[in-house]
Symmetry: C2
Subunit: 356 residues, 2 copies
């Protein structure tokens, strides 16, 4: 087994703590370590560090490697350009298949919260067996516990022959509106699409060749060793749209672990222990006579008094205050923000790559 | 005429912008200059700088003088201890009377907002004449335009003989509850007690001797030149309680200028021009889809989105967020705040004196 960690990402959802040069995978959003470090540490005992590959732009990759001291810099697959998850996974699969054509590849995001780690590792090992035995492209689906409109869903079909923990995918559905999300939750046959994928690397490349005209005609450039030209030639497409929704060999395994993609400041209230009034505070904060607030004080102190359901963030001179229920729409605010406020400088700033 | 500027004060009402070492008179709350500088500049043309005296503790006095480059350090009357406005004004009056026994003394606070300045100067000159002609201790009373519970009031009595702009004081009343304040506003015969006093210095000392047992027995120590012993011996008392409420020689002149004592962050919304949604911002602030907010960004930027009627302050690493209607009670919050948050360090910090 090998693992690729998709570690690009633009970093707007946790602004001003996250920025283009310091996206959320570099932030200690769930605990004391950056999310990418937790993601790597969660794999400990499942695969050795030499079989963990990091996918990101070169500059961001350099920062990520600083947070991952046991990974060899050679394990960074530095994407020449951002063209979505389809091309970058085709490229990574091609590179890995060259060394290890029979491996099962696990594709993960660097910025998700998953626990417990041992259950996660056991299930990945099990799904790798299933993917190899049934020759399928697997996605892990998380049972919903709320009518979430921020995630895509997978509708579960029949069980794979002889299995009770793996199913055909009846269909993938995009982020729903709230009424649809409530229906999915009540229905019971819909799972959140976690974006955690498990597949034999050779099968994935076969399916790309068969179903993905945005990518397939250009794979010869990779055979010729010209990744630069490949990224220049492909059309941007996500792996979900370009491969999974078109392939007949997809399957889903319901997650036995808790999963959150930390889509907004709101998510911090789910992944960190709140106080008895439902406040979550990271850093030095004093939330007096306040309830339901999320406070993030990266430097200095936040003092709130008599307020409810606010997100209050301070980092590098920028203070953000908004109601929690606007957190998911933060990009609407950022679109109108003057550049001199939006772009807080980072130490040794450079541009981070993105998978879109 | 001489002027004393009462410039002590503990600095909790505009926390975290104001602190003990940097009370609000040192902040540019109303414009671009510190309030104490505006207070001094407002006197330009009425009295020369050699006749303006500053009353504060020694350390705070040093900081205040930095903001007042044309005042001679000898004009600082550095009170040895904080014993309220009664003893400090008795001491200042005694010192001034020694040089200038026939002068009329104007006593002002360093942290009030007053405009227009020319009307203010004209009225002080007029009230000084009235005080000398009628031999009275004058206070200036400001006509209320709202049922303010944060100020004391003066009930206006009969006009002084032959005058239409000066009246006996029927009585002084302490800060009222809201029902009483509404009654005072409707009644029309109550004025806010601004704490701006005008009196012949000799009359003030006579009235202290006659009515203020907390101070009078110790005036001999001042005759002997021992201010230290005087401040050690007196009982703390305000000039309002210790002298004005007991004297039969008080009078009031209704202010012809606008006056605000800037009692809380809420006051900033009265003294600064709001945007069309009622937001007042000082420093770099972006208040999107927000209304009725007061933002003070002393460093960095404040970004608010979708919030109403909040006070948001950032200074030296401390961020404060509270509803506007709690601003007047800020000391309640400060009483419970951990010291490592409440006491933001100042450059070259020392303790400021206070008149109580």
């Amino acid at each position: 087994m090998r693992v690729v960690i998709l570690a690009g990402g633009v970093g707007s959802r946790f602004w001003p703590a996250s920025t283009a040069a310091r996206p959320k995978q570099l932030l200690p959003l769930a605990g004391d370590l950056p999310l990418v470090r937790e993601t790597r540490d969660r794999l400990e005992g499942l695969v050795g560090p030499e079989r963990i590959h990091l996918l990101a732009g070169r500059e961001l990759g350099r920062r990520l490697l600083e947070a991952l001291p046991d990974l060899d810099p050679g394990n960074l697959l530095a994407e020449p350009a951002a063209r979505g998850t389809g091309p970058v996974l085709a490229w990574a699969s091609h590179e890995i298949a060259r060394q290890d054509p029979d491996t099962v590849l696990v594709s993960l995001h660097a910025d998700h919260v998953i626990e417990p780690a041992d259950v996660f590792r056991e299930q990945l090992a099990r799904v790798a067996e299933l993917a190899r035995a049934h020759r399928r492209l697997f996605t892990i689906g998380a049972p919903p516990d709320r009518p979430e409109t921020g995630y895509g869903y997978v509708r579960v079909g029949d069980p794979l022959a002889g299995e009770d923990d793996a199913f055909d995918v009846e269909r993938f559905v995009e982020k729903p509106d709230i009424e649809t999300a409530e229906r999915y939750l009540a229905d019971g046959s819909y799972l959140w699409n976690t974006g955690i994928f498990v597949w034999p690397v050779s099968l994935f490349l076969d399916e790309v060749r068969a179903h993905t005209p945005e990518i397939a005609p250009h794979l010869g450039l990779l055979d010729a060793g010209d990744a630069e030209a490949f990224f220049g030639a492909v059309e941007p497409v996500s792996v979900d749209v370009g491969v999974l929704e078109r392939s007949r060999r997809v399957a889903v395994a319901p997650a036995r672990f808790a999963w959150d993609d930390l889509g907004s400041w709101e998510a911090l209230a789910r992944t960190r222990e709140p106080d008895r009034r439902g406040n979550v505070a990271v850093g030095r904060a004093h939330l007096a006579d306040s309830a339901g607030c999320v406070a993030w004080a990266e430097e200095g102190s936040i003092v709130a008094w008599g307020v409810r359901d606010l997100v209050i963030v301070h980092r590098r001179g920028v203070t953000l205050v908004m109601p929690r229920d606007r957190a998911a729409d933060l990009k609407v605010l950022l679109a109108d923000l003057p550049a001199e406020i939006a772009d807080a400088p980072e130490d040794g700033e450079g541009s981070g790559g993105t998978h879109g």
